[in-house]
């Protein structure tokens, strides 16, 4: 009997089978490694007075500052990062390899160093900052704008790298098809390329937002720490840790839960529309 003749009656479908343990075992270890430390937070949290602590004005202010700055940061990264990713993926300008390497620098550099670098550039005596101060009376450090800049510095690579990967994976022949239909390069980008790589852009934006939300080192160095103005949740956690570890746990949990809720909602939306 060969397989060409289909047997009459119900088809016997091959069962998918159990996933192989050489994959499952390391995966379980991976999950445990990521989740168990969070469990530590949950177990040690002072649940009885959680409600009171969470609604303290300083906590709410820090939470609001974190969410709003991370969102503005993501928007900035999209505005500048998507075109940058396009240039890296689709053009061949001199020094492109160098630029690609430079884009990854914030991933390697400790965020505190990034903060110092931003101070040296945009600080009151910085390369650019001194002119901003002298000509326009603008000082960037110690403002919410500085928080956004610090977050953008560390989060941008996540967006650029995801979007560049999506662009390189996209079938360029669709862009050629659009060109033969009379679409100029900008139209091709907005009407064809961007919709095609939208999942990559979405993934990059989510990574970018999450990274911005957790940003600490560059923020505290460049933007400082002042409640309501530049004290984001991670900074509030760090400060609380110095005196009141329980408060730090509460703040960490709040940050964790809010970011999980936002990511889950975004993901849901994403899966439904894609």
């Amino acid at each position: 009997m060969t397989g060409s003749a289909a047997p009459a009656g119900p088809v016997l479908r091959a069962r998918p089978g159990r996933p192989p343990w050489p994959l499952v075992l390391p995966a379980l270890v991976g999950v445990a490694f990521l989740v168990l430390p969070m469990l530590g937070l949950v177990v040690r949290a002072p649940w009885p007075d959680m409600g009171r602590r969470v609604t303290e004005p300083d906590v709410l202010a820090a939470l609001w500052l974190s969410l709003s700055t991370a969102t503005v940061t993501t928007a900035l990264c999209l505005v500048f990062g998507v075109p940058l990713a396009w240039l890296l993926a689709r053009t061949d300008f001199p020094g492109r390899r160098l630029v690609r390497a430079l884009v990854a620098v914030p991933l390697v550099v400790p965020p505190v160093v990034g903060g110092v670098a931003l101070l040296l550039l945009l600080g009151r005596n910085g390369l650019l900052g001194r002119y901003l101060d002298a000509w326009f009376g603008i000082t960037v450090p110690f403002t919410p704008a500085a928080v956004v800049l610090a977050q953008t510095f560390v989060a941008m690579p996540f967006l650029v790298i995801s979007v560049e990967g999506a662009l390189r994976g996209a079938d360029r022949r669709y862009e050629e098809a659009a060109a033969t239909l009379g679409a100029g390069r900008v139209t091709v980008f907005t009407r064809v390329t961007l919709p095609m790589v939208l999942p990559g852009v979405g993934a990059g934006a989510i990574l970018c937002w999450a990274r911005a939300l957790g940003e600490f080192g560059a923020t505290i160095t460049f933007a400082g720490n002042f409640p309501g103005t530049t004290q984001t949740m991670p900074l509030a956690v760090y400060m609380a840790m110095q005196r009141d570890p329980e408060a730090a746990i509460v703040l960490s949990l709040v940050l964790l839960l809010v970011s999980l809720a936002v990511l889950a909602t975004l993901r849901e939306k994403w899966v439904n529309t894609a």
Partner: protein, 261 residues
């Protein structure tokens, strides 16, 4: 173990015994001795460690510098340290209540450790002093940007005490998480002034000028040192503390900007 061959079981037991043997039984004077010390002590203790190792050949001083409260948390969590030198008495108190100090040593030197140095606040201004700061009152000026330590950290407590003594209410642009961060902002000229310790001004060199002010006397930080209850090397550790408390130790500490106890 039931299914293991007898020979293998014996070999494992022997190996375990050998490992245990490595932990003790050697020259009590030789080996490593670990000192956990507040970050501000870095320069002074490194110099003293060289001196100590010269006097005690075979003993290596391992220095671990960090914020006092982080070190206290590490010690109470079981970190293998012999000596703890804190930047304030409150932090030493956490360790006294946690792991505790060596009873014998504490009976001789004090239940809450021995104070070996003090550190007083200074106004730190950039070398060009753009805001023309001369005393503490100038920090309250409307156009003066100031960096202070956050209340949560030891230097912040000292700052609050000094400002209270002066009857001043200063709104800084930032509450930094440690004193070095305040110093960095001053060094880069991002703020017109900051309150830091005398030792920080000394360590910063020419980029920063220190201005002393009378109210600083109200918030002098005492640096206590103690031999820990679970110290693996109590003998050399006691010798180290003696060196720190000696005249030679005081000279090195004074060079780094510390005051006498």
């Amino acid at each position: 173990m039931r299914d293991l061959p007898l020979g293998l079981t014996a070999a494992l037991t022997a190996a375990a015994a050998a490992l245990t043997a490595c932990g003790g039984g050697t020259d009590p004077e030789a080996g490593e001795m670990t000192v956990f010390a507040a970050a501000s002590l870095t320069d002074a203790f490194e110099e003293l460690a060289a001196e100590f190792e010269a006097r005690h050949p075979g003993t290596e001083v391992v220095l671990n510098f960090a914020g006092s409260s982080e070190l206290a948390a590490q010690i109470n969590a079981g970190a293998p340290a012999d000596v703890f030198a804190a930047a304030d008495t409150a932090t030493m108190g956490q360790v006294v209540e946690g792991e505790g100090l060596n009873d014998e040593w504490a009976a001789e030197h004090g239940e809450d450790g021995a104070v070996f140095a003090t550190n007083a606040l200074r106004i730190a201004v950039p070398a060009d002093d753009p805001a023309g700061i001369e005393d503490l009152d100038d920090l309250a000026g409307a156009d003066v940007s100031v960096a202070l330590c956050a209340d949560e950290v030891p230097c912040g407590a000292a700052t609050a005490a000094a400002l209270e003594a002066a009857g001043l209410d200063i709104t800084p642009v930032t509450y930094e998480g440690d004193v070095r961060a305040v110093l960095t902002k001053v060094e880069l000229g991002e703020v017109d002034a900051g309150l830091v310790y005398a030792t920080d001004v000394r360590a910063a060199g020419e980029g920063v000028t220190g201005i002393s002010f009378p109210e600083a006397e109200e918030a002098v930080n005492a640096y206590p040192i103690g031999l820990l209850a679970d110290a693996p090397r109590p003998g050399p550790a006691a010798d180290w503390i003696d060196l720190v408390l000696s005249q030679d130790g005081a000279a090195v500490l004074a060079e780094a900007g510390f005051g006498a106890p």
